[in-house]
Each structure stands twice: as C-alpha cells, then as structure tokens.
C-alpha cells in the first residue's frame, strides 16, 4: 500500500516499479484524457454550429423555386438580394438602405450602452467599497439577464402605449394635448428596448477590467497632481479598454443580427439585417436567406476584426 502511494507520488523512485506498472491497468495518457474531456463539447459545436455555418454558405449558392431547395449552383440568392443596386445608383437600393439603417441603430445602441455601462461599472468597481455590497449590487444588475427578453420588451407597452403611463402623465400635467405616437412601435422604442436588454453585456466586461486595475496606480496619479478627470482619461479608460472592446463586440453583434426586438418593439414595421433573413425563411426562400446570412456574417466579422485589432481577446478572458 505505502509503496503504491510512493509510486504515485514519485514515479520511478522505487526499484522494480517498471514491472509493478505493467501489472497495474494501463494509465490513460494525458492527451487522451483531454480529448475525452473536451471532445463532447467540441462535437456539439461541430454538429450544431460549425457544420450549420458551412451549410449556410453552401445553400446560399443553391437555386430555389416557390416551395423547395434545388441543389444546383446558382447565384440567385445573391442577385435577388442585390436586385436593382446598380440600376438605382446613385440612390441606395433596398438592401443598402436596410444595412445603413441597421448600422445606424447599432451605433446609437452602442453609444448609449457604452455610456451607461461604463458609469455603472465605474460606480461598482471604484465607489462600492465592501465586497458584499459589490456582490449584491452586481447581482441586482444580473438578475434581469436571467429572465425572458420578450417579457422585458412587452413590459414597455403599459408605459409607452397610447394610453400608457408616460402619455397619461404628460397629458395630466398639461405638457401635451395629444398622446405622443412615437413612444411605442417606433425606432425610439426599439433603441430603448435594446439598451434595456443589453447594457448588461457592457457592464460585466468593463467591470471585470476595472476591478483588475491596481488601486495604487490611481493613487499615484492623484499624488502626481492629476485631477479626477485626468485620472479618468489617462489611467482608468486606457486600462478598461479590453472590457470596453469586449462589451462593444457583444452589443454590436447582438444588435446587428437582432430581429426579435426590432420586430416586437418596431411593430414589425422596421427593416433590419436580421429581419430580412427571417422574412426570406418565412417565404421558404432558403438560398436567399442563406445569402443574406453570409452577408451579415461577413459584415459582423469585419467589425469584430477591426475591434479586436485594438485588444487581444484571448489574453483578457
């Protein structure tokens, strides 16, 4: 028994351990164990993420008619998508306008979530001193993330609707005579709901970057005579950059591909990159849907590449 213990602790120390090892069941090699441990997850990503992506690309080059896929090479998915884009120059065609609109929406949501997310994270990281309070308040920000997005969208209806709280409140105070129509089912409500849903994705990575900042650096800046604003711009913002970039990637990719929030909060009236795909699928035009998915993927990928130039994501996680 004790010999066995020693054998495991310091293999090769005991004489004759070679024969002892041969008698025991063969140990699995470390690399085989790694495969066993990581393999199942790899298989899930292969079957339900990587292969599907390949199919999206393949099917985007297939032909189609009213009701089925035709597995023959065709550029129809793309030509249908870009229909009229050259003829209408210099005006933008439908797809161009839609992407411009989506990017515009994306930029607004990004700017607002970054502002809110930065200051919420800043408050949690630098102003909340006790660990318990920090945990509690972070949890308070996280809990809505575990509840349903659709419910958090429809939650705005009683507030922003024609007869909602905001309109009736404003009418009562006499600030307006008629209910404001653009509060709900408009671009405004889409941006509001997206900010409401996804600021969380900004807060978490920025907070993570901020708590890692060595407090003595801030004291050093203060001792060297920097004002609070100078410390913020020259110390805190540069050191929180990884979190800012990761949060931005999350928010931008979510908004670029969103079709549910834009659908529900836009009253199904606002066009967006994700909604084109949904519409094409509903019309059973799968190659056209796939072509749009490829375009969206390329644009999202370009944005991420540009952003990850600024920071090495893998190092920061």
């Amino acid at each position: 028994m004790s010999e066995e213990v020693l054998q495991q602790a310091t293999p090769g120390l005991i004489p004759g351990s070679g024969t002892a090892r041969a008698a025991k069941p063969t140990r699995l090699s470390p690399s085989f164990i790694s495969w066993l441990q990581a393999g199942p997850m790899m298989l899930v990503f292969l079957a339900f993420f990587l292969i599907p992506l390949v199919f999206v690309v393949i099917v985007s080059f297939w032909d189609y008619n009213e009701y089925q896929l035709l597995p023959a090479f065709s550029g129809r998915g793309y030509t249908d998508t870009f229909e009229g884009c050259i003829a209408q120059l210099p005006d933008l065609c439908t797809i161009g306008k839609t992407y411009l609109k989506t990017l515009n929406l994306c930029f607004m949501v990004w700017a607002i979530t970054l502002f809110i997310g930065f200051w919420v994270a800043y408050f949690l990281a630098f102003h909340v001193r006790s660990k318990t309070w920090q945990m509690g308040l972070s949890l308070l920000c996280t809990i809505p993330f575990w509840t349903s997005n659709v419910i958090r969208m429809i939650a705005w209806i009683p507030l922003l609707g024609r007869n909602g709280l905001v309109n009736s409140g404003l009418m009562k105070t006499g600030l307006i005579n008629h209910p404001i129509e653009w509060l709900l089912f408009s671009e405004f409500s889409v941006v509001l709901a997206l900010v409401h849903l996804f600021t969380f994705f900004m807060v978490v990575p920025i907070f993570n970057s901020m708590v890692r900042i060595d407090k003595s650096l801030i004291e050093a800046a203060y001792d060297a005579g920097a004002t609070g604003f100078q410390t913020l711009v020259n110390v805190i913002i540069p050191l929180s950059k990884p979190g800012i970039v990761i949060g931005s990637i999350f928010v931008i990719t979510i908004v670029m591909g969103d079709f549910i929030t834009i659908g529900v909060m836009g009253g199904q009236q606002i066009a967006a990159a994700g909604k084109i795909i949904e519409t094409r699928v509903n019309a059973l035009q799968f190659p056209a849907a796939a072509a749009n998915a490829v375009i969206l993927l390329v644009i999202t990928f370009l944005i991420i590449t540009m952003m990850s130039r600024i920071v090495d994501i893998k190092r920061e996680l």
């Binding site: 690399s31 999206v56 509840t147 419910i151 969208m153 609707g161 969103d258 199904q268 796939a290």
Partner: protein, 292 residues
C-alpha cells in the same frame, strides 16, 4: 477610519439607482398588471385586483396551450442545464492542460457566442432539412423529419449555453489553487478521487452557477429556437407570437408565470450557492486546529 465620500459618489449612486429603476420598473409594471380585474385593460390604471387572467391561463381556455408549451420548455431547460454542466466542467478540466485543438475549441465557443443567433438558427434548420432529404431519398420515403425539440432544438440551445459554461469554468480555474490537487495526489488519491473529493466540492458553487445559466438561458431562449425548434413551440415563442395580436392582460399573466419560474430557479440556485459558501467557510479548512 473612513474617508468621506467624494461628490462624484453621490452623482454616480443616483445614476446607478436610476439604472436599476430602469431595469426593474417596467417588469414590475407588468407583474402588477397581470393581476388586473376581469374588466381590466392593457395599461394602468388597475381595474380591480384579481387572479382572473392567471387562472384563465391554467384553465387552458386561454390563448395558447400553455400546459404543453410549459412542459416542453421545462423538459428542454432541464436537459440543457444537465448537458451544459457536464460538458462545461469536463471541458474546463481539459483546458487546465495544454492539448491539441485547444484554440479551435476556444474560438468555436467564442464564435458561437457572437455569431448572430439568426444565422446559427438558420444553419441548423438547413442542416436538418438536408439530412431529412437524404433520408427520404435513400432510406425511407415516408420519413417525416429529424427536426425537433430534443434534436435540433437542444443543439441550438447548447450553442448558446455552452460558451457561457466554458467561460465560467475559465474564471473558476483562474483562481483555483492546483496545490490542493497535488496534495490529494501525494496522499494517494486516484485522479477520480481527487476530482470527486477535492476539486468538485471547491468548485460546486460555481458549477451551480453554470446550471443556473444553462436553465435560464434555455428557458427564455428565442432567437436560436425560432428556426430550429421544428413543428412545436416553446413558451417564449408562444409569448412572442402573442405580442402582435393580444389586446387583454393574458399576455402579462403569461409573462408573470414565465418570470415566476425564472425567479424560483434563480432563488434556488443563489440560495444553494450561498449555503455551500457558508459551509465551505465554516468547515472547509482545519488550518490552525492542530492534530486531533
């Protein structure tokens, strides 16, 4: 002695409070409104207080077959939770050593997290359509479809929950002291015993956190389910379908019931985590107690 709070503290505290109000205010509004009286409408003021709309949901005479969708979502959520926990812990252990394909798995997980959901969902639906066509062409002409809740639907949800699980495992093992395992090994524990009696108890609170993510993300999942779930609907899909047609508080009642499940699961998980942490603090270490 504590320094006085700077003025920026108060400004940011108000900002933070406003953010929390912004987060919770609208949700609370619909929870309250789901207790409208039978004559109540979609907005305030309340027209009496009753459980009329919630009762109506459970009678099955309401807007959707709530019971069936509820059971489907619950089943899927529980399976997703179990698979997410097991695969994440296993893969998390693997990442503590170097192995080939490590960066492939890492980048797959990150890509799965940030590739827009509609693309993943479309891809899975295309994949299953093509599989169906192949089966029909080569084996069984009467074959219906391989798409379903526990095939394509399960896969779609896992592409969303597993990256979170893996990232949480990274966070756990970043602050895990490997000397504890060495100590167990030195005392003669087999790798499995080391995992079962040393590693697992220490990481258990965070593992429950992974389960919490697994269940709640699946329970509320929408974008990935939209194309990949097959013929049946999950609860969030039914709820989304209602947003364009409903004119009475049914929809709030449904929202409240779905949230009630979420909040139950969240409190159970957080309660367990808290209990485990307390137990660990009380009994985890016998340092300084000497030999008995």
């Amino acid at each position: 002695m504590r320094e006085g709070r700077p003025r920026s503290f108060y400004v940011l505290a108000i900002f933070f409070a406003a953010y929390v109000l912004f987060l919770y205010g609208p949700m609370i509004a619909i929870y309250v409104l789901s207790f409208q009286g039978p004559q109540g409408g979609l907005t305030f003021p309340m027209n009496g207080v009753s459980t009329f709309w919630i009762a109506k949901l459970f009678q099955g005479t309401g807007i959707v077959d709530l019971g069936a969708a509820f059971r489907r979502s619950l089943l899927l959520g529980i399976i997703v939770m179990i698979v997410t926990v097991v695969l994440s812990v296993a893969a998390g252990m693997a990442f503590r050593r170097k192995f080939k394909a490590q960066s492939i798995l890492f980048y797959s997980a990150i890509a799965s997290l940030i590739v827009p959901s509609i693309i993943t969902s479309l891809g899975i639906s295309l994949e299953f359509r093509i599989i169906d066509d192949l089966i029909k062409a080569h084996w069984n002409e009467n074959f219906e479809t391989s798409m379903g809740l526990l095939t394509s639907g399960l896969g779609a949800h896992l592409t969303w929950t597993l990256p979170f699980g893996l990232l949480i495992m990274f966070a756990i093992f970043n602050r895990f002291d490997p000397r504890l395992e060495e100590a167990a090994r030195d005392l003669g524990a087999t790798p499995w015993q080391t995992f079962r009696h040393v590693v697992l108890p220490i990481i258990l609170p965070s593992v429950i956190g992974i389960g919490l993510f697994g269940f709640t993300l699946s329970w509320d999942e929408l974008a990935r389910s939209s194309q990949a779930i097959g013929a049946v609907n999950t609860l969030p899909l039914d709820l989304q379908g209602l947003t364009t047609t409903v004119t009475n508080p049914d929809i709030y009642a449904l929202g409240t019931v779905i949230s009630a499940v979420s909040f139950t699961v969240i409190s159970l998980a957080l309660g367990t985590i808290h209990m485990l942490n307390k137990r660990q603090a009380a009994k985890g270490s016998d340092a300084g107690k000497g030999l008995v």
